[in-house]
Symmetry: C2
Subunit: 315 residues, 2 copies
């Protein structure tokens, strides 16, 4: 990567980009060429992922500030990288903005920068265009020697989940229904954390399979089961929940940016909590059998339809 800013020619778009770059400060790296250049440590692979957040689909401007919208969009993308156990390098941000938003883009830039800072990654460039609604496509890249994968869960593995679930789903329901949004719910909805460092720690301690549960715990566990061709048993009584949220709602709702991981070796959950101030909880196990997720509550099997965040299903 080359450091420093490249001068742009004239044009309003470039004034806007220059303003964003100033806003990004030292996070901005090598913006201005047609492509960003990244040095990758020898013998590492590059992990790369892209994630789009669209106004009125993934967020509403009356529910989140522009700073929070920028922060969440970047964090959602970085969460996909976290699921590979890769170290973060940087992001590209493709911004589509409606015409009523020109003055507030500083706040959006601040949220983008805040999420990049939290994850310890640089901002390497992107694209800006206008469009009917605000939309952010964030591409994130990192490096890893060996990646965590969806298809690496094996019979006998322990199943763990990071964090405390249910907050984003409860916040969204309350916002939709115009009922009270508890501050804890809102915080988890508006200020999620990508588990980048946590995943690397877990990868160093025997974890081989991982997925982020942005589609919801049940839906994403089903992806792991399908990819690994195993049965995953989850004890819903063990899922840590935010106050005032039902386990069934929590495991069905999406917008969580926690990780589901599986490991042949038991993981030291106390050490994880001490290291990251985030709980890691064993919530089930992997078994041979039909590729599906089996859930139990109070010692009995329960059947729960995953809802998740199936964008195409909402039409």
């Amino acid at each position: 990567m080359h450091e420093g800013e490249i001068a742009f020619g004239p044009g309003k778009e470039f004034r806007f980009i220059r303003r964003l770059i100033r806003r990004f400060g030292p996070l901005a790296s090598g913006i201005g060429d047609d492509a960003a250049l990244i040095h990758v440590p020898r013998d590492n692979m590059v992990a790369i992922s892209t994630d789009t957040s669209v106004e009125n689909v993934h967020f509403r401007r009356d529910w989140l500030s522009l700073d929070e919208i920028g922060y969440r969009a970047v964090t959602a993308a970085i969460s996909d990288l976290a699921a590979t156990g890769a170290a973060g390098i940087g992001i590209l941000v493709a911004l589509t903005t409606p015409s009523d938003l020109r003055e507030d883009l500083d706040a959006l830039g601040d949220g983008i920068a805040r999420a990049a800072t939290a994850a310890g990654v640089g901002i390497f460039g992107g694209d800006t265009t206008r469009g009917p609604v605000l939309s952010l496509t964030v591409t994130v890249f990192g490096n890893t020697r060996e990646a965590l994968r969806r298809d690496a869960a094996r019979s006998g593995h322990h199943v763990y989940i990071t964090g405390v679930l249910g907050g984003p789903g409860a916040a969204l329901s309350a916002l939709r229904d115009h009922t009270e949004v508890k501050p804890e719910w809102r915080a988890r909805f508006a200020e999620p954390h990508a588990r980048l460092r946590e995943a690397r720690w877990l990868a160093g301690r025997g974890v081989r399979a991982a997925i982020d549960i942005s589609d919801g715990l049940l839906a994403d566990a089903a992806h792991v089961a399908a990819a690994s061709n195993v049965s995953i048993n989850l004890d819903l009584d063990r899922v840590p929940l935010v106050q005032g949220v039902d386990a069934v709602d929590a495991v069905r709702s999406g917008e969580e940016y926690e990780l589901l991981v599986t490991s042949a070796i038991p993981i030291d959950c106390t050490a994880f909590l001490q290291r990251f101030a985030v709980p890691l909880t064993e919530i089930g196990s992997v078994a041979d059998g039909a590729p599906e997720v089996r859930t139990s509550m109070h010692g009995r099997p329960v059947q729960i339809e995953p809802m998740g965040y199936d964008h195409f299903g909402t039409r």
Copy 2:
């Protein structure tokens, strides 16, 4: 990168993704994990770029078929990679689709695949979501030991342009004005080529500075002048033009995916033409002086305001 498909859990979105992957055929690589994994040759950097195409901003569905829209969006993104002289590796495609488009997405997928095939790159994944208009954000990545840059033009360099200009601008004007669109114009608008192989050839023969002229020749030459802090002199009489297009219109209009390059050593334009069946034309030179573009026609200086494709300026 790992080959083959990963199984997905249930959900309509995943049926759609599976269908797209089948459409992509052998181009699809490692789709299904949260992130794609890329092996990069030792001592190479990764070049990465992202580009968004939005309905009614960059294209109209009554002007281009869905196949052409997919093809153009991917080619536009790859063109940015070409400007670095990198070898192409692959793309990620983030698709936002309106609800009236569900049935026609095969054609969009075919266009995406056609552009990837033309450039010799794989399709490594992406994202799908719904939204009010069709929008594609294509992220492209490649590898290079040393990149062509905007800030590497030096006094005394020769300035070259690939291809024949003016087609896309003329096609767009005619489409807007409901006048006759000549087939040659339309072909250059609907079926551009990213100059990926051409750029690598040029990089191997002394070219150090390059930019793609998607903002228009004058606007992008101004970016090189600003980044390199040099004056660029262009003789507009030498710019190769499609039939029926004025040089001034051609150098002001965007949507071209040709390359402007500079080199201290003269480049063999005949060898380039023979190798790629595309003209390479010397159109000017680099000099010390204020960072600006100076244009001449018929031996006299002419002042032309660049128009380019300044999205934010069109509001």
